[in-house]
C-alpha cells in the first residue's frame, strides 16, 4: 500500500489519475481508516491531501466563503466569523462523531464517504454549497446535492477529487440550522438529518429557503417541495404542516439497525419543522 502526500492539487490529481488499483484520498481518515481496518477496503494508494494549501484554507470569496475540503470540523468551529454566517453548516460538521473525530473529520471526507447519513451534507445542500472538483481535465463546480449519487457512489470521475466548497454570499436576514435524530446524545450515525437555510424579508416573511434531508433515502435529498411549502409564509402552523407533509412525502428510507422506515418518516417531518424554526429564529436576529 503506497502513501503519498503531494503539496499541490495537480500533484494529487496526477497520482489519482495514474493509479491502477483502488486509490483513496485521505483527509481526516475517520472513515477510510475504519474501513481499512474492517477489511472493507484495501487501497493500493492513499493520497494524503492535507499538505495542499487549497484544501486547508477558509477564505472569503465573492461575498461568500470558500472552505477547503480538508478543513476539520473543529477548525470550522474555531473560525471567528464562519459560525455567525453559517451556524448550521458549522454545527453539522461538529456533530460528526466525537470531539476526537471532529478534530480530524472534514467536509470533503464526510461527503465523499458516500453515506446518505452524513451529518454535514444536508447542511451544505441547504446552504446551496458548490463543490469544486479538481481533475485531469481541470476544475469544475458541482452543487453538493449532485455529488453523492447513492451509497458509496459519487459523481467524481477517475482522477477527480473535491478540493473545496463555496458557500454563497448571504443576503441580510438569512440563517441556517441543522438537526439530526440519534438515540443517544452523541456519537451515533444520524437516523435522520435535516438542514434548512432561509432568508426573510423585512416583515419576517420567508422569501427563500432550501430544505435538505439526510438518511431517509439512498442519497441526501434537496427537497424543493418542502422549501415551496414555507416560502411566502412566516412559518405559521399551516406552513409547518405543509413542510412536514412535504418531508414525509419525499422519504424513501430503509429499515436497519438504526431505525425503521416508519420511524424515519415520522422523525423526518418533526425534524424538518424543528430545524426550520431554529433557522427562522436565527434569521430574525441576524
Amino acid at each position: 500500500m503506497r502513501y503519498e502526500a503531494p503539496d499541490s492539487l495537480e500533484g494529487a490529481v496526477a497520482l489519482l489519475a495514474a493509479a491502477n488499483g483502488d486509490a483513496r484520498v485521505l483527509a481526516g481518515g475517520t472513515d477510510l481508516l475504519v474501513q481499512m481496518r474492517a477489511d472493507v477496503l484495501e487501497p493500493e494508494l492513499i493520497v494524503d491531501i492535507k499538505r495542499i494549501p487549497e484544501t486547508r484554507a477558509v477564505t472569503e470569496e465573492k461575498g461568500g466563503w470558500r472552505i477547503g475540503a480538508a478543513v476539520t470540523g473543529a477548525e470550522l468551529k474555531e473560525h471567528p466569523r464562519l459560525k455567525k454566517v453559517w451556524p448550521g453548516v458549522v454545527e453539522a460538521a461538529n456533530l460528526i462523531g466525537s470531539t476526537q473525530v471532529q478534530g480530524r473529520a472534514t467536509l470533503g471526507g464526510n461527503l465523499c464517504n458516500g453515506s446518505p447519513a452524513a451529518d454535514s451534507v444536508p447542511a451544505l445542500i441547504a446552504a446551496g454549497a458548490l463543490a469544486t472538483l479538481a481533475g485531469p481535465r481541470g476544475k469544475r463546480d458541482l452543487p453538493v446535492e449532485d455529488v453523492m449519487l447513492g451509497p458509496r457512489k459519487l459523481a467524481l470521475q477517475k482522477g477527480e477529487m473535491v478540493a473545496s466548497f463555496l458557500l454563497p454570499a448571504r443576503p441580510a436576514r438569512s440563517s441556517d440550522a441543522y438537526l439530526r435524530f440519534i438515540p443517544r446524545t452523541e456519537m451515533d450515525i444520524a437516523v435522520v438529518g435535516a438542514g434548512v437555510s432561509l432568508t426573510l424579508d423585512g416583515g419576517g416573511v420567508i422569501t427563500a429557503a432550501r430544505v435538505s434531508l439526510g438518511a431517509v433515502a439512498a442519497r441526501v435529498l434537496l427537497v424543493s417541495e418542502a422549501a415551496q411549502a414555507i416560502i411566502g409564509s412566516r412559518l405559521d402552523k399551516p406552513a409547518q404542516d405543509r413542510l412536514e407533509a412535504a418531508a414525509r412525502a419525499v422519504c424513501r428510507p430503509i429499515d436497519d439497525k438504526r431505525g425503521t422506515i416508519e420511524f424515519r418518516i415520522d422523525v423526518a417531518a418533526v425534524l424538518a419543522r424543528r430545524t426550520a424554526l431554529i433557522a427562522l429564529d436565527r434569521a430574525r436576529t441576524n
Binding site: 474492517a38 435524530f181 438515540p183 443517544r184 446524545t185 452523541e186 456519537m187 451515533d188 450515525i189 437516523v191 436497519d256 439497525k257 438504526r258 431505525g259 425503521t260 416508519e262 420511524f263 415520522d266 422523525v267 418533526v270
Partner: protein, 764 residues
C-alpha cells in the same frame, strides 16, 4: 455501624471507611499500569483466530496446508490440537463446568454453533501475516438452519444444536433431544390458593434482548511454553486460578506447572470469568516453541465472547386491595447461547427475593440457540427477572392507588423473612434503602408534562468462597499484602485500609499486589461481589496470626506470660505490673529484630469465606420523553444501597453509579441486533449503543449500612446489586411519563414512538 471495628492506629486514626488514594493509582493515571495487551515477550508471535461466518454449520473439513506454508507462520491449530473432553460437570472453584462444552466453545469440533465461533488459529511473526494466513485456511462448511430467539428455540421443530442434549428437570425424562437444557423451579406455599385470595391479579409477559458486558478492554493473553511443559500465561481475567484450572484441563497439564499472572484488567463485569484465547495461546506457543500473544478485536469481543441472555419472562402476581402480595408466579425462558448454562437459576431465585410472600412459584428454562455462549454479566439473571417483577409491582401500586414505595415497604423482606429460594434472611437493609429514597429531595421534586418518575428495588445474594491472602512484614516495618482476586474496581485500596487498621500501621506503609497462581493458595475469581468481602476476611485471619506470633515473641523478650500481654491499637502492650518494666512494641519495632526473635514475620489467610450477606438496593429515576420522536432523556438518578460497611466509600459509590449507568444503557438502547441470516449486525461501539457521558446526569449515591453480622467489619458485597433495579425503575418512569407500560427492552426511540402513535400521544 460506621465506626471502627475497634481497630485503629496507636494515634486513634483508622483507614477503613475513609477515602484513601488507591495504591495502584499513580500507575493508572500515568499510563504505566500494564493491562493484558500491554505485555510483550522477546521473540513473541502474534496469534489470531479464524471464526465461523455461519451461525450454524457442520464443519466438514479444515485444510490448513496453505496457511502453514506461508512464510512467517509458525503454528496453526484446529480441533485436532485439543483432546475431546467427556461430558461431566466438574467443579472449578465454585462453578460447575462441563468441559465437553468448554473445549468446544474454545475451538469448534463437529459444528460451528454461532457466527464468530473459533474454528482455527495461527501464530505468525506479525499481525499482517497472521491475518493473511487466516484467509488461506480452507474450511468446508455444511450450512444448517439456525435459531436465535429463545421461544423459537424451544419449539419441538426448531433446528437442533446438540443431539445429546436432553432436558434435565422434567418428568418423565424426554426421549428426544431438544434445545431446552434444563428446567429449574423454586416453590414456597401454594400459589393457586394464594391467587384465590387476591383482590387484584396482574399477569404480564416481558422480553429482553441480549446485551454485552461492554468492557472497554478486549480479551488478551500472552503464553509461553517451555520445553519441559511448564507454562507461563499473562491474561486479563477476573480469575487467574480458574484460568489455570481450565487450561490445565483442556491441555492435559499439571496445575502446578501452569503459572498464570492476572494483568491489570480493563473491565470484566463477569465476562472475563471464562477462557477464550488462553488455551489457544498456550497450544500455539507449545507448537511454535515461541511466546504467543493474542488480542481480540472489538468485533471479536462482540461476536465471540459471551453477552448475557435475552429472555422472555411471564410474571403473575396477586395482591389484596390493601396491597399485600399473596401470590407470585413467574416463568423465565433464558437463552444460554450455543452451550447450556444461562443464568436462569439465579434469575429464578432473585425474582421475588425482595418481598416477603407466602406463596411463590418460579419456573425457569435454560435454552440453547445459535449465539455466543452466554457469560456472566453482573448479577447474572437477576436484572431480567427483577425488571419483570418490579414492573408488575408498579402496576399493582397504580391500580390499587398506593404509593410505590409504601407498597414495597408493606411487603419488604426483612430479618427473619424466609426467601422463596431457601434461606432465612439475617439483618438486611431493604427497608432502609426504601426509606432513604423517600426522604430525598429527588423524590419530593415536582415533575412536568412528559416527565416521569420510577422506583424499583433489587437484590443480589453475594458470595464468599475460597480466598488466600498473605501478609508479610518487611524488615523496615512496611507490609507486603498479596491478594489473589484481580482488582477490577479499586479493591487494593480497600484491602490496604483493612490491613493497615488490623496491624496498626499507616496506610502508605501497606503495599498490596495481586499475586500470581504460583504465589498463593487457591482463590476463586473476582465475581459474586466477593473480593472485598472475602479478601478483608482473609486479611483479618492473616493479621490474627501475625498478632499472635508477635505476642508470643514479646513474651519471650519480656519473659512474660501470655496473660501479661495483649495486642491493642497497633502494638503489643504489657499489662499490669509489666507495664512499668517494658514499653509497647509496634510492628516496626518487631521488624527491626525479627531475625533475632524467630525469623520472618508473616501470616496467611486461607479461608472459604462464609456468611456473605445480601445487598438490597432501591433506585429512583426521573426521565423525560420527547413525544414526537420517542427519545428519552434521563434527568435525575438516585441510588440507595446497603453496603453493610463501606470499606472505601468512594469505590462503593462507584459501584452504585457504574451499575446504574449500565442499567440505563440496557433499558434504553443496548441490544444485539441480528439479521434473519443469524449474523450480528452491530458488533461495534458505534451501533452497540452504550451510554456516553452526555447521556446521563450525576448519579446520587446513598450509602446505607446495615452491618452484616457474619463479617468482622460488617461488609456486604456491593458490586452486582446496582445493575438490578435500573431496568424496572426506568420502565416504571416511562409508564409514569407516557401512561404506556413497555414490556420489551430496550425502550429505544422507534419502539417508544410507535407505542405513542398507537395511542395518539405523539404530540408535544
Amino acid at each position: 455501624m460506621g465506626e471502627t471495628n475497634g481497630h485503629s492506629q496507636a494515634n486513634g486514626q483508622h483507614y477503613v471507611g475513609t477515602r484513601q488514594i488507591r495504591p495502584d493509582g499513580a500507575d493508572k493515571v500515568t499510563g504505566r499500569a500494564r493491562f493484558g495487551a500491554d505485555y510483550n515477550l522477546a521473540g513473541q508471535l502474534i496469534g489470531r483466530v479464524l471464526r465461523s461466518p455461519h451461525p450454524h454449520a457442520r464443519i466438514v473439513s479444515i485444510d490448513t496446508s496453505k496457511a502453514e506454508a506461508l512464510p512467517g507462520v509458525k503454528a496453526v491449530i484446529t480441533r485436532q490440537d485439543f483432546a475431546d473432553q467427556p461430558s461431566e460437570f466438574i467443579p472449578a472453584g465454585e462453578m460447575m463446568m462441563n468441559y465437553k462444552d468448554v473445549v468446544r466453545n474454545v475451538m469448534a469440533r463437529e459444528k460451528a454453533l454461532y457466527e464468530g465461533h473459533a474454528v482455527a488459529a495461527v501464530a505468525a511473526t506479525s499481525t499482517a501475516i497472521a491475518r493473511r494466513a487466516l484467509k488461506l485456511i480452507d474450511v468446508k462448511y455444511e450450512v444448517l438452519p439456525h435459531v436465535i430467539d429463545v421461544v423459537e428455540a424451544m419449539r419441538p421443530d426448531a433446528p437442533l444444536l446438540h443431539d445429546d442434549l436432553f432436558t434435565v428437570g422434567v418428568e418423565p425424562k424426554p426421549e428426544k433431544p431438544s434445545n431446552i437444557a434444563k428446567r429449574v423451579e423454586i416453590k414456597q406455599g401454594d400459589v393457586a390458593a394464594g391467587f384465590k385470595k387476591a383482590d387484584l391479579i396482574i399477569e404480564r409477559e416481558f422480553k429482553t434482548a441480549p446485551v454485552h458486558q461492554g468492557y472497554i478492554e478486549p480479551h488478551a493473553a500472552l503464553a509461553t511454553v517451555s520445553e519441559d511443559g511448564s507454562t507461563e500465561l499473562w491474561t486479563t481475567t477476573q480469575g487467574h486460578f480458574i484460568v489455570r484450572a481450565h487450561c490445565a484441563r483442556l491441555l492435559g497439564l499439571d496445575i502446578g506447572k501452569v503459572r498464570v499472572t492476572a494483568t491489570e484488567i480493563g473491565g470484566g463485569f463477569g465476562g472475563k470469568t471464562v477462557v477464550y484465547l488462553e488455551p489457544l495461546a498456550i497450544a500455539l506457543s507449545k507448537k511454535a516453541k515461541r511466546p504467543v500473544k493474542m488480542v481480540m478485536s472489538r468485533e471479536e469481543v462482540f461476536k465471540a465472547s459471551g453477552p448475557t441472555s435475552g429472555a422472555t419472562v411471564r410474571v403473575k402476581m396477586g395482591a389484596t386491595k390493601d396491597g399485600k402480595f399473596v401470590a407470585a408466579f413467574a416463568e423465565l425462558k433464558y437463552q444460554a447461547g450455543a452451550f447450556q448454562g444461562s443464568p436462569v437459576q439465579p434469575g429464578t431465585m432473585c425474582a421475588y427475593a425482595p418481598y416477603d410472600i407466602e406463596n411463590v412459584h418460579v419456573i425457569g428454562y435454560d435454552v440453547v440457540s445459535n449465539r455466543p455462549k452466554v457469560a456472566a454479566y453482573r448479577a447474572p439473571g437477576a436484572p431480567i427477572s427483577e425488571y419483570a417483577v418490579e414492573s408488575v409491582v408498579d402496576e399493582i401500586a397504580k391500580k390499587l392507588g398506593l404509593d410505590p414505595i409504601e407498597l414495597r415497604m408493606m411487603n419488604a423482606a426483612h430479618e427473619g423473612t424466609k426467601a422463596a429460594y431457601g434461606p432465612k434472611f439475617g439483618p438486611i437493609g431493604l427497608e432502609e434503602t426504601l426509606n432513604s429514597i423517600k426522604k430525598t429531595e429527588h423524590w419530593n421534586t415536582p415533575l412536568r408534562k412528559w416527565q416521569g418518575r420510577g422506583v424499583a428495588s433489587g437484590f443480589w445474594f453475594n458470595i464468599g468462597g475460597e480466598t488466600s491472602v498473605s501478609l508479610t512484614v518487611n524488615e523496615d516495618g512496611t507490609i507486603s499484602l498479596m491478594a489473589g482476586t484481580p482488582d477490577i474496581g479499586g479493591l487494593r485500596a480497600s484491602l490496604a485500609s483493612v490491613a493497615a487498621d488490623e496491624l496498626g500501621v499507616s496506610y502508605d506503609k501497606v503495599r498490596p499486589i495481586i499475586g500470581d497462581t504460583g504465589s498463593l493458595g487457591f482463590n476463586f475469581l473476582t465475581g459474586g461481589s466477593r473480593s472485598a468481602f472475602s479478601g478483608s476476611m482473609a486479611i483479618v485471619e492473616a493479621a490474627k496470626q501475625i498478632k499472635a506470633e508477635l505476642c508470643a515473641r514479646a513474651c519471650k523478650l519480656w519473659e512474660a506470660k501470655p496473660d501479661q500481654v495483649e495486642w491493642k491499637d497497633g502494638a503489643v502492650r504489657p499489662l499490669g505490673a509489666l507495664a512499668e518494666k517494658v514499653k509497647p512494641m509496634t510492628i516496626a519495632d518487631f521488624a527491626k529484630v525479627s531475625g533475632k526473635t524467630g525469623g520472618p514475620i508473616g501470616g496467611v489467610g486461607r479461608i472459604n469465606a462464609q456468611g456473605a450477606g445480601p445487598s438490597f438496593g432501591t433506585h429512583l429515576v426521573d426521565l423525560e420523553v420527547d413525544p414526537e420522536t420517542g427519545r428519552t432523556t434521563i434527568l435525575r438518578y438516585t441510588v440507595a444501597q446497603d453496603a453493610g460497611r463501606a470499606l472505601h466509600p468512594a469505590y462503593v459509590e462507584g459501584q452504585f453509579q457504574g451499575g446504574a449507568v449500565q442499567g440505563i444503557g440496557w433499558a434504553l438502547n443496548e441490544e444485539y441486533v441480528y439479521g434473519t441470516d443469524g449474523k450480528l449486525q452491530n458488533a461495534g461501539f458505534l451501533d452497540y449503543r452504550m451510554p456516553v457521558a452526555s447521556d446521563v446526569p450525576m448519579i446520587d449515591a446513598i450509602l446505607v449500612e446495615v452491618g452484616n453480622p457474619k463479617h468482622p467489619y460488617g461488609v456486604r458485597g456491593v458490586g452486582e446489586t446496582p445493575i438490578v433495579p435500573p431496568l424496572g425503575a426506568i420502565a416504571n418512569a416511562m409508564e409514569n411519563a407516557t401512561g404506556i407500560r413497555f414490556t420489551e427492552l430496550p425502550m429505544s426511540p422507534p419502539k417508544v414512538l410507535k407505542a405513542l402513535k398507537e395511542k395518539g400521544l405523539n404530540k408535544v
